[in-house]
Structures are given as C-alpha cells and as structure tokens.
C-alpha cells in the first residue's frame, strides 16, 4: 500500500519536488474547511491515529490533533511520561502494542534523530515524523513553505534566510531540503558555533553577520535559540546574542526591501527576535500556525488514501473516473 507520498512521511529530503507541490496544493482546500461553521469533513472517518510524543510539544501536537479531528479520525494521545515508556518499554514494543489494537497511523515526536524512520520500517501503520532529534520536522518545513507561497506568491527564486541555531534545528534542515527542491535560494546566518560544519554542501549560502542576511533576504525565518542546550557554551550570553544576532526593528529598518518575518515558535522575545518585529505588520508568525493545520490535514489525507492499484480497478469497474469529463467528481 503506497500513496502518492509512500507509506510514511519521515522528512522532506526523500521527497521529490512534485510530491512537495502536491502536499502544498492539497493543503489549499483544507484551509477553507477550518473556516466553515462545522469544521469537519468525513474523509478519515473510522481511521485511528495515535500521537506518540516523547518530547514536549504544544503547538505541533495540538495542530496535529486538530487536523486529525477535522478529518473525522479517532485520535489518542500518548505522552512519554505517564506511559509504559517511563517503565522502560522500547519504542518498537510500544508501537507494536498500539498496532495490536488496530491503529492506522502514528504521529511521532522523538528526541533521537532517525526515530520516525526506524519505526516506519518496523510497523505496518503509516508513520508521520513530528520532529526527530536534530534530523527533520517535515510538517513544519511544509507549513513554512506554504506561508512563503501565500505571502510572496511563489517559492522559486525567493531568498530565504534561516537565522540562529542551525546546528540543533530540525526545522532548519526540513526548510533547507524543501525550499531548495522547489527552487528557492536559501541562506543560513548565526554564530559559527551554531552552524553545522559543511552546511554549504546542502547548497546554502552562509552569512556571519545578521546585517548581511537582512540586506540579501526576502524572508527571514528566525529560529528559536534552544536555551536548554546553551549551558554547553555555544554562545557567551543571551544578551550578547541579542546584541549581535537579534532581529530588531532598527536592523530591519535599514533593509533595502520589506522582509517577511517568520518564526516556528516558541519564541524567546528579546533573545532571537524583537517584540516589535514579532508583532509587526510583516510578521506572518500566526499565519504559519494557521497553515500548520491545513498542511497536516493534507499530509494525513494523502497518506491515508490513494491506493493506486485500487484506483485502477475502480476505474474499470462500476464507476467512470469523472462521472463526466476527464477527471471530474463522480
């Protein structure tokens, strides 16, 4: 059983440009579903989805849960604390037990890079990566791309700079893979200690100074400084980081063009981003959150459906594909 996306969504690296475009295009009609008086369509009725979160998450977990519920799926949330995971059960055992209860999909957030792929190779259910270690966070990358397409009107040729902690960021990696596949120009900017070595090999430009990045870019995607990792001495102090790399209103005022400001959240106001910028007229940070639900609905819908062998059989059988002209809607 494979959909247009395959069995699992592990990252944007393995996807083709066409597959990414398909997800973004499918997300468009789902935006409208969330604006309806009854925010629900029956597309995934009867499907059971488990949200397996081994790391803290508010936005992503709630966003997935809304997406699932608006598609009429039945959902269960499992957090690592308070489950058998805290008693030492392995990831695969947990998932196999869930599968024994006849589930259809697993959305997984895990601290170890590669956890989603590892799981996907071992269970029959569809697996969606909701962030694995420093590897990828594909639905965040997709919602960032959808937001850029909405705001700028296209992705090809748009100059996007990721600012801040690139080293620890799975969001950065998903953005780089997805955006470069669709023809955007991508750059990263941050302190040397927070840029992975050899990042140029991914086809991105590197800026050591935020002023250069602001002069070059159309879009700034400001990443969260992962404070929980800062005791390791990657930067001298938060205050110094803000002084050198903070995205401030003063710096943006000197930009040659109007920049679109994005942030995947949660924000550290006054550390990586100035409140006046975050709440300013060119911030699309809340649009990103809105688009997150639509993109996740699209991914769930595409992974759940589309079995080509059945589609071919159906075309020959009782129903014409269009009911009317080539590819209509019977």
């Amino acid at each position: 059983m494979s959909s247009a996306l395959g069995k699992d969504l592990v990252g944007l690296e393995p996807l083709s440009a066409d597959q990414i475009r398909l997800i973004l295009d499918t997300a468009e009609p789902f935006k409208e579903v969330s604006e309806r008086p009854i925010k629900k369509v029956p597309a995934l009725r009867g499907k059971t989805i488990v949200n397996l979160f081994f790391e803290a998450s508010t936005r992503t977990r709630i966003s997935f849960e809304f997406a699932e519920k608006r598609l009429s799926a039945d959902t269960v949330n499992v957090a690592a604390t308070g489950s058998s995971v805290s008693k030492g059960e392995t990831l695969v055992d947990t998932a196999r037990n869930l599968e024994a209860m006849r589930i259809d999909m697993v959305v997984i957030r895990h601290g170890a890079s590669g956890a989603a792929q590892f799981l996907g190779e071992r269970i029959r259910s569809n697996v969606i990566n909701a962030g694995d270690g420093k590897h990828e966070h594909p639905t965040q990358g997709l919602l960032d791309m959808l937001t850029i397409r909405d705001t700028v009107g296209r992705i090809e040729g748009v100059k996007v700079c990721l600012v801040g902690d690139i080293l620890h960021s799975r969001v950065a990696r998903s953005n780089i893979w997805g955006l470069t596949k669709l023809g955007a120009e991508v750059a990263v900017c941050g302190p040397r200690t927070l840029l992975p070595r050899g990042i140029e090999a991914l086809g991105v430009r590197v800026f050591g100074r935020i002023e250069e990045a602001i002069e070059w870019a159309d879009v700034l995607n400001v990443l969260r400084l992962q404070l929980e990792r800062m005791e390791k001495g990657f930067i001298p102090s938060l205050r110094e980081y803000y002084r050198v790399f903070g995205v401030t209103a003063e710096r943006l005022a000197r930009a040659p063009r109007q920049l679109t400001i994005m942030h995947p959240g949660p924000m550290n106001r006054g550390v990586e981003i100035d409140s006046r910028v975050a709440d300013g007229p060119h911030s699309v940070i809340l649009e990103q959150v809105t688009n997150g639900v639509a993109v996740r609905m699209a991914v769930l819908y595409l992974l759940a459906g589309g079995r080509p062998e059945l589609a071919v059989a159906a075309k020959g059988a009782s129903e014409s594909p269009g009911g009317g002209g080539g590819g209509g809607s019977e």
Binding site: S3, A4, L22, D25, T26, E28, P29, F30, E32, V33, R36, P37, I38, K40, V41, P42, A43, L44, L71, Y301, L302, A304, G305, G306, R307, P308, L310, A311, A313, A314, K315, G316, S318, E319, S320, P321, G322, G323, G324, G325, G326, G327, G328, S329, E330
Partner: protein, 163 residues
C-alpha cells in the same frame, strides 16, 4: 432547463444554484445567468467539492485533486439546486447532500443534471434532466464545457477506449 428550475421554485429569489466541481460549477453559473435574465432577480450561486465526503477515499487514486468549496454563509431557508454534468451511480449526489447538511438546513434541495445515464446504485433521482441516455456500465460520458474544454459537447466513450 432554466425554465424547469423556475417552475420548480416557489420564489426565484430564494434559489441557490450549487455546482459540483468541476463542470457542474460552470453549468450552475450558466443556468443562474439565464434565470436572472428571465426573472430580473439575483440568484445565489455556490460550488462544492465532494472529494472529502466520498465513501471510497482509497479509490480516489494516488493524487486526489480537491477543488474549491464556496457557499453562501448560511443556507437555512434557501432552495438549493444541486447542478452536475452527469448523474450515474448517485454517490456524488449522496456526498453533496451530506456536505450541504454541514452548511445549514436548506428549506428544499433539488437536483438538476445535464445527462442522466442511468445505472443508479442509490435511491436518487434528478428533478430536472437535460437528456436521459442509457449508457452501459464501463462506457463513459464526457461532458465538455467551453469555459474549461474550449467547446460544448457530450461524448460517449466506449469501454475499450477509456483511459
């Protein structure tokens, strides 16, 4: 067909013509214009895509295309006329009825199709039919619309040539 819809309607100003994506939308627009010319009233229009209400998601194919759904905010009290190009199994209409129910409670819902090809799998009948033809299962009825296909035509495609 426009005249028949008018005969069906008690008050033309309550009419909302809702086309099913894709070709039903264009047909609904044409009918709405004809009714407006005839009666001098404004007729409501809408479009629905029933892809998400199908009972056979797994048969949709690897790349489902979902069209736009746009309806007047509240359908309560309206006389909705569902417009589609071809009526076949009735499953599309069943899905459209379900979807409309999520947008309010219309006073009445009617069904208007350009071609009724028979072969129903559900107890659904059209109120207004452009032309009824008996088409064997396996064959396809393709409706071409000038706005989308460059020409107006109805083609009968035999089973062996279908893609």
């Amino acid at each position: 067909m426009a005249v028949e819809i008018l005969e069906l309607a008690q008050s033309p100003q309550d009419l909302v013509l809702v086309g099913i994506q894709r070709r039903g939308v264009e047909l609904a627009e044409r009918l709405a214009r004809l009714i407006e010319q005839e009666e001098g009233v404004t007729v409501g229009r809408g479009a629905i895509d029933i892809t998400l209400y199908r009972d056979d998601l797994e048969l949709v194919g690897p790349k489902p295309v979902i069209g736009e759904t746009r309806l007047p905010t509240d359908l309560s009290g309206a006389h909705v006329v569902i417009v589609d190009d071809v009526l076949y199994t009735g499953r599309t209409v069943r899905a459209a009825l379900d979807e409309l129910a999520d947008f309010g409670r219309p006073r009445r819902i009617s069904l208007c199709v350009l071609v009724d090809r028979g072969g129903r799998e559900l107890p659904i009948q059209a109120d207004v039919v452009g032309k009824a033809v008996k088409v064997p299962p396996g064959a396809r009825v393709d409706v071409l619309i000038e706005e989308l296909d460059g020409t107006d035509a109805v083609n009968l495609v035999e089973a062996h040539t279908s893609a």
